[in-house]
Every structure is written in structure tokens, then in C-alpha cells.
């Protein structure tokens, strides 16, 4: 049995922040859990997908974040508990549903987890999703450790039902991807089925209803603030006694503040805001009044800072408030103990407690960026596209492993903003540029957000080639299934949707399906596609090499070797193709047999036929 399910009440287990959220949801009696995968949120869904059957809950990897949110809304509006999780940019997709769901409110507890990514460890931006709580009038909880991920997820359901509002639990990479001991409680199954009680004057947001419900929301926020004032999640931590210095902080910044404050010479009080929207105004004012200088320590946007300054102005509090506006703390990238220590030294005008020990600055080392794997079908596709069009095409790229094609030797990405953007931007690019335009989108991303763009392109007659790089999985985030998959989460049967049917259904007339491992065919098909008068689609279909390797069906021929006598050292296999299995040392190229996936692409592209299947 799974660690998540088997842990007994009262026991202490090591959990990832995301796993702790999953356990918290199970203990809260969640009935429906949905997600669209995305780092650093993925393990919430992956954990629930794994245990869904044994736990007796419904779980799905939805087609995208807004559908995931709508699924959860449908369930929670009926009265059962629901959780939906996503990465920060996923909430941009889901926000349309969430903003108005705050008006109707919920019956069953509704928790939306957003995992932000300060420093863009694996994201296209580092937006601060706490703004969504302010924008929508939605209560916000900010855990700072694995234990709090668990505690606050459970509490979020309680708050949600008390206020009849959705609740946002906001983590960051350093909360979701931190592992720590968690003391768990008992899993109590909740209601799974309800009889929907009709109430259109609440749940159908025609303008007259929306106007009335907005006032209800504002009233609920007043009640929410009372909960926030009384909440144990907003607590004061004294480091030393009789402090005239204070810190207001939340999330991972609380951890850095604790360690940095402990190293200061003066005593410091820390007001930790776990329930940070609505702000507990009275608690904050009281804290300000009882300290001479208060530093606001938060990653990314000055959200607490702005609110605290506004409160101080409103209440005519003269306490010195120091934050990003004073340049004490940066507005970009994640913090650590030393950034916070430096900021506190500026804010409090004190000497820094433990200046970090000077250390070796590593000289320039060979870089190790993430690359397309040995046998990756995307590599083969990009090679073929390079052969077919050279550098003259403009490439609209999208979110997934294949974005790595931006690097040499392929240089196969010229524009990328968000999930599904390849298709939409390709239309605009084709409209105003003379060059041919090729859009690349993954299979999961195509289903997620590519379909409306495709219909738009067909309808308006935009001329470009859309290549759907179909590796049969959502590879980048850990191989989650998508609508064309035939295997889903543990709980439920699923139906595979045909990608070809979808593409044809969008009105596409010119569609080809190729195996990218067939380099010549793929190259010729790209050339032919670019001759079409309107939009053309190529589905380049070949299973992700990591899955093929895992399932031991990798080698379609056999592992390959270079015949050094036949090799003319032309370096085509390392300069024009990119395979981690092929290395070049002292002008001699070799194929690492332990890494070779047997895709045979290198053998096809070698101008001297020097690469062959191993005996």
C-alpha cells in the first residue's frame, strides 16, 4: 500500500509538500480531485491519481486547468468536497471560472491549489498568484512547510464551507518541493453523491444575479476577515524578548526570516501570516503599534507590503515600515536566508548576523542544460524540419519537452508565450511575414489549448504548417495521460479520443501522420505540407523514448555503433543532430551503448553510411 494511505493517525512520516496536500485532502474527505499537470504542482495530482481507487475518490487529469476547475466547481456546488491543483500559470487559464465562482460561492468545500515558481525553475514567468485572491475576493492560505501543506489543506476545506467561498492554497517551489516530517491524522471518507438542490438566483450568474451576488461576496469577505483575525494560522513568533523590531512575512519567506532573525543581535518578533487574505487588519495594526520598525518580507510582489502600508496610513500608525519600496528586498526571484539577512540588516540598520562564508567561485564549467533524450522522437522531427526548410522558416513553439528544440543545432523556436500559443501566434506570424511559418505543439498541449486556435486558423484561412509532436503522453511533467491516452488514473475507466478525428473535425483538409523515426518521409512530408494553399497538419507520432525504454520496447531495430573505418569524421551526427548517446572525443565519434535507444535516426542521417545496427 501507498505511504500516503497507510500512514496511521498520529504517525510522523516524511512527505513532499505536494504529497502532504494530497494527504490533507484525503483526510478532509475530498470526493473529487482534478488537475492539469505542471511543475511544481504535479505531485499533488500524481499522488491522488495513484491512490484514488483505494481511497474511493474520483480523480481525473482534466484536459486543461479551466476544465479541471469547472469539474471541481460542479461537484462542490452540489455539496461534496473538491480540490483542483495547478501550477501558477495554469490559474491564468482557470481564472475565468474562479472569478465568478467566488460570486456564486460553494456548498461543499472547494480548494484550489496554485503552485508558484519564483526564479522560474521550470516556468515561463514568475507571476505572483496571491493577486488572484485579491482580484477575486477569495480567502488565501500560504503554507511554509510540508506539515503546513497538510494542516492548511484540511483547514482550507473548513474555511471554504464556513464562508461558502472557494479558498486558494498558494505554495511555491520551495514549499511544494520541500520534504519534511508530517504528523498525520485519520482519513475520514466524505460524501460522494448528492442530490442537486436548484437555486438559480444564486448559481446562474446572469447580470441581475451577479450584481446581487457581488454584494454577498463583499459581505462574506468581512466574515472572512473575522476568521483571519482569529485564525491560529496568523501567529507571532518571538525571537528574544522585548523586541522593538518586527517582521511580517508569509510562505517560504517565513522560514528564511526565522533563520535570519535568529542570527541578529537584537530580539525580533515575527508575525507569520498563514491566512493572508483577507489580511487580519487588527492583528497587523496591533503588531505595527507595538514595534518601532517592521520589515515586510515576502517573495515576488509587494502585496503584503502595499496592504500593510495602506492600513498604517488609514490608522495613522507612525511605525517605520521597510520593504521592497525601500530597496531592502528584491522583487524578482526566490529568496534564501542570506537575501533575507541582508534585507533585515538594511531594514533594521544593524550588522548582518552571519555573513555567508566566502567560498570557491567555480570557474567556467561545461554546461549541462536539459536536452532531448537519446531516441527522443522530437529530435528526429526537428532534424527533418531543418533538412526540409533550413533556417528560412519562422517557428512558433509551445510548452513541453520539445521547447528544448530552441537550442542549437535545431534552433526550432522563435516565439513562445504560453500553452497553446504556437497555433494562435502562427496565424499572426503567417499574416505579416514573408517566411513560411511552422508551429510545433505537443499532443497534450494540443488538447489543452491548441484546438480553438486551430479552428480559428481554418475558419480564417491562415496559412501555416502545424506539427503536432505526438509522443503519446504529457512527458515533461512526468508522463501523465491526456485525452488520447488509453490508460488513466487508478480509479476510473477512460476513453481514448482520436487526435485525427479532432483535427479533421476542426475542418482541416490536409493532414498527414508520420513516424519521425523515418527521417526521409518526415522531411518530404514537411516539404509537401509547405506547398499547401491553406493550413496543413502533420502529426509526428512516436512514443516518448523514456516510456519506450521503461516498457522495454525501445529498440525498433537495435542499438547502433559507428564503424570507425567508414566514418569520415564529418561530425554530422554531433553538429546537426543532437543525441546524448553520441559523443565526440579527440575527433572520434562514439555511441554510448548504455544510452542508445535504437531509434536508428543517426544511421539514416550519416552521409557516409558509417552507422549501423550493432551485431
Amino acid at each position: 500500500m501507498d505511504r500516503i494511505l497507510e500512514a496511521r493517525p498520529g504517525s510522523k512520516i516524511l512527505l513532499l509538500g505536494n504529497e502532504a496536500i494530497a494527504r490533507g485532502a484525503l483526510e478532509a474527505g475530498v470526493a473529487v480531485a482534478t488537475t492539469y499537470p505542471g511543475t511544481p504542482a504535479s505531485e499533488i495530482g500524481d499522488t491522488l491519481a495513484r491512490v484514488a481507487k483505494d481511497a474511493g475518490i474520483y480523480f481525473e487529469y482534466s484536459i486543461n486547468e479551466i476544465v479541471a476547475t469547472e469539474m471541481a466547481i460542479g461537484a462542490a456546488a452540489s455539496g461534496v468536497r473538491a480540490i483542483v491543483s495547478m501550477k501558477h500559470v495554469g490559474l491564468n487559464v482557470a481564472s475565468d471560472a474562479l472569478m465568478t465562482f467566488a460570486y456564486t460561492g460553494t456548498r461543499g468545500g472547494f480548494v484550489l491549489v496554485t503552485a508558484d515558481d519564483p526564479s522560474c525553475h521550470s516556468s515561463q514567468n514568475e507571476q505572483d498568484n496571491r493577486y488572484y485572491a485579491l482580484l477575486g475576493g477569495i480567502p488565501l492560505l500560504e503554507p511554509s512547510s510540508a506539515q503546513e501543506c497538510y494542516d492548511m489543506t484540511k483547514e482550507a476545506f473548513e474555511i471554504s464551507e464556513k464562508l461558502e467561498l472557494p479558498v486558494i492554497v498558494r505554495t511555491t517551489t520551495r514549499v511544494s518541493h520541500v520534504r519534511g516530517p508530517v504528523v498525520v491524522g485519520a482519513i475520514v471518507p466524505g460524501a460522494k453523491k448528492k442530490e442537486f438542490v436548484k437555486d438559480p438566483m444564486r448559481f446562474v450568474t446572469v447580470p441581475a444575479v451577479a450584481r446581487a451576488r457581488h454584494l454577498v461576496l463583499l459581505q462574506r469577505l468581512i466574515e472572512a476577515e473575522k476568521l483571519s483575525e482569529e485564525s491560529h494560522l496568523n501567529s507571532i513568533h518571538n525571537i528574544g524578548s522585548g523586541a522593538r523590531l518586527g517582521i511580517i512575512t508569509s510562505s517560504a519567506a517565513f522560514n528564511y526570516s526565522m533563520d535570519a532573525a535568529a542570527a541578529l543581535e537584537s530580539p525580533v518578533d515575527i508575525l507569520k501570516l498563514g491566512f493572508s487574505h483577507p489580511l487580519p487588519s487588527k492583528k497587523v495594526i496591533e503588531f505595527l503599534k507595538s514595534h518601532e520598525v517592521v520589515a515586510i518580507v515576502e517573495e515576488l510582489e509587494p502585496i503584503l507590503e502595499t496592504s500593510v502600508r495602506a492600513l498604517a496610513q488609514h490608522e495613522s500608525v507612525r511605525t517605520k515600515i521597510v520593504g521592497k519600496a525601500d530597496g531592502a528586498f528584491p522583487r524578482a526571484y526566490e529568496f534564501d536566508q542570506s537575501i533575507v539577512a541582508e534585507g533585515l540588516a538594511k531594514a533594521f540598520n544593524t550588522r548582518q548576523g552571519n555573513a555567508s562564508i566566502s567560498s570557491a567561485s567555480p570557474s567556467a564549467l561545461p554546461v549541462r542544460p536539459p536536452v532531448l533524450c537519446a531516441g527522443c522522437p522530437h529530435s528526429a522531427t526537428y532534424f527533418a524540419v531543418n533538412m526540409a526548410v533550413g533556417k528560412k522558416a519562422v517557428f512558433a513553439s509551445d510548452i513541453g519537452c520539445y521547447t528544448l528544440g530552441v537550442a542549437p543545432p535545431y534552433n526550432a523556436a522563435d516565439l513562445l508565450v504560453c500553452m497553446g500559443s504556437s497555433v494562435g501566434t502562427a496565424g499572426g506570424l503567417a499574416l505579416v511575414n514573408h517566411q513560411p511559418v511552422i508551429a510545433f505543439i505537443g499532443d497534450s498541449t494540443f488538447f489543452h489549448a491548441g484546438i480553438p486556435g486551430l479552428i480559428n486558423a481554418v475558419h480564417h484561412g491562415h496559412k501555416f504548417l502545424l506539427m503536432i509532436l505526438d509522443n503519446r503522453t504529457t512527458a515533461m511533467t512526468g508522463h501523465q495521460p491526456h485525452p488520447a491516452s488509453d490508460k488513466g488514473p487508478s480509479c476510473c475507466d477512460i476513453t481514448a479520443v482520436s487526435m485525427e478525428d479532432v483535427v479533421k473535425g476542426c475542418g482541416v483538409k490536409w493532414l498527414r501522420v508520420v513516424d519521425p523515426y523515418d527521417v526521409k518521409l518526415t522531411t518530404e512530408t514537411v516539404k509537401e505540407a509547405l506547398k499547401q494553399a491553406g493550413i496543413s497538419i502533420i502529426i509526428a507520432r512516436r512514443e516518448c523514448a523514456l516510456i519506450a525504454k521503461r516498457d522495454e520496447q525501445g529498440a525498433i531495430t537495435k542499438k547502433h555503433v559507428i564503424d570507425q573505418d567508414a566514418c569520415k569524421k564529418c561530425r554530422t551526427c554531433v553538429d546537426k543532430f543532437q543525441c546524448p548517446a553520441i559523443s565526440s572525443k579527440d575527433k572520434v565519434q562514439n555511441i554510448d551503448q548504455s544510452q542508445c535507444a535504437g531509434c536508428s535516426v543517426c544511421a539514416q542521417i550519416c552521409p557516409h553510411k558509417a552507422i549501423k545496427g550493432a551485431e
Binding site: 521550470s122 519534511g180 570557491a360 553538429d575 572525443k585
Partner: protein, 194 residues
């Protein structure tokens, strides 16, 4: 407080190793916080895990602050040296995973001797572990990461007893327990003998 900084390349089992350290710490009644950075690591990028054992809140390890660096790959040892200072023990696997940049940009992959010299300039102790070979000998070729955990345990720096490490290995890899414990013992021995 003990700061353990683990580095290597995606696919080397570093996260599993960090979980074993975390479980062992809990079993021995210590406080522990682990973090992992692996966004696109599955695609052959560098992986970093931190394990901080003791009474603190932050998960990250500052420059110069690592008590132990456990490097699962030779080149990555050099990349981790900004975390080292005069107190640091550096445990390095001799395993080499040559990045593409070596071939495409015609760069130099460091030799073991070069790594030893660079480590010697900043750190206190250098322990070299032929992890792939020792793993092979213990009949689970994929147990290099367990060999490295064994070496960490063998230094005694974490203050966690051997039996807690061994129990944690069992908890995290329920299959192949005797073989993995053998791999652990081989790593343990190397560190003890250094």
C-alpha cells in the same frame, strides 16, 4: 545542525537518496528538511537536493555552508564547490556522464585528478567512491545511489546511526533489500576507510 548537499544528473536516483536520508533522520528522532530542484532534470540536466538535519526552518543551503557534499557525478562535483568551505567533506562518485556540450562545444571533461585538486583547494576531506563498480559488485547495478548514501553514513557526520539508515533504505526500496544493503555497506566501508 548538519547540511548535506547532494548533486548529480537526472536519473541517478538522487531524490531517492535524499528521501532515505530524510527517513533516517526521522527514525533517529532528528528534525529534517529536504528540498529538490529538478524542474527539467529528467532531460539530463543537473539535479540538486538539500538535506538539512537539525533545528532550523530554511530548506536551502548557502554558499560555503555545506558540511557534506555528496556528488553522484564527477563534473557535478566541481559545480557544487561554491557550497564548500574548510569544514566540508566532499564525497564524489567516479561516475562520468559526459554532457553534450563537451562534444558540441569541444570542451574538456575534467579528470579525477583535476577534481581532486580543485576540491583540495577549498574543502577539508575528499572521498572518492567507485559507486558504479561497487553497485555492480552488489548485484544491483542501479544501486549506485545507495552506495553513495552508505558513504555518507560511513563518514558519521550526520549523527544518524547506521541501523536507521539501513531501515530507511528498506522503507524506500522494498524490493532487493539484501542487495541494496550490501551496496550500502560497500559505500559505508569506503568512507570509514578514508
Amino acid at each position: 545542525m548538519v547540511d548535506v548537499y547532494l548533486v548529480g544528473v537526472g536519473g541517478q536516483g538522487i531524490i531517492t537518496a535524499s528521501k532515505i536520508i530524510g527517513d533516517a533522520a526521522i527514525l533517529s528522532g532528528k528534525k529534517v528538511v529536504l528540498s529538490e530542484t529538478h524542474g527539467m532534470a529528467q532531460r539530463g540536466g543537473s539535479v540538486v537536493c538539500t538535506a538539512r538535519i537539525g533545528d532550523m526552518s530554511s530548506a536551502l543551503i548557502l554558499d560555503g555552508q555545506a558540511d557534506v557534499i555528496v556528488s553522484f557525478e564527477l563534473l557535478e562535483t566541481l559545480r557544487a564547490l561554491n557550497k564548500a568551505s574548510g569544514k566540508t567533506i566532499v564525497i564524489t562518485s567516479t561516475e562520468q556522464i559526459v554532457p553534450l556540450s563537451i562534444s558540441t562545444q569541444k570542451l574538456h571533461y575534467p579528470t579525477l585528478e583535476e577534481v581532486r585538486i580543485e576540491v583540495g583547494k577549498v574543502a577539508k576531506i575528499f572521498i572518492q567512491v567507485d559507486a558504479p563498480k561497487l553497485a555492480e559488485d552488489s548485484s544491483v547495478p542501479k544501486s549506485s545511489n545507495i552506495v553513495m548514501v552508505g558513504a555518507l553514513a560511513g563518514t558519521g557526520v550526520t549523527g544518524i546511526e547506521r541501523r536507521h539508515f539501513e531501515k530507511a533504505v528498506e522503507m524506500n526500496i522494498p524490493r532487493w533489500v539484501p542487495e541494496n544493503l550490501e551496496a550500502f555497506a560497500k559505500g559505508f566501508q569506503v568512507a570509514q576507510g578514508t
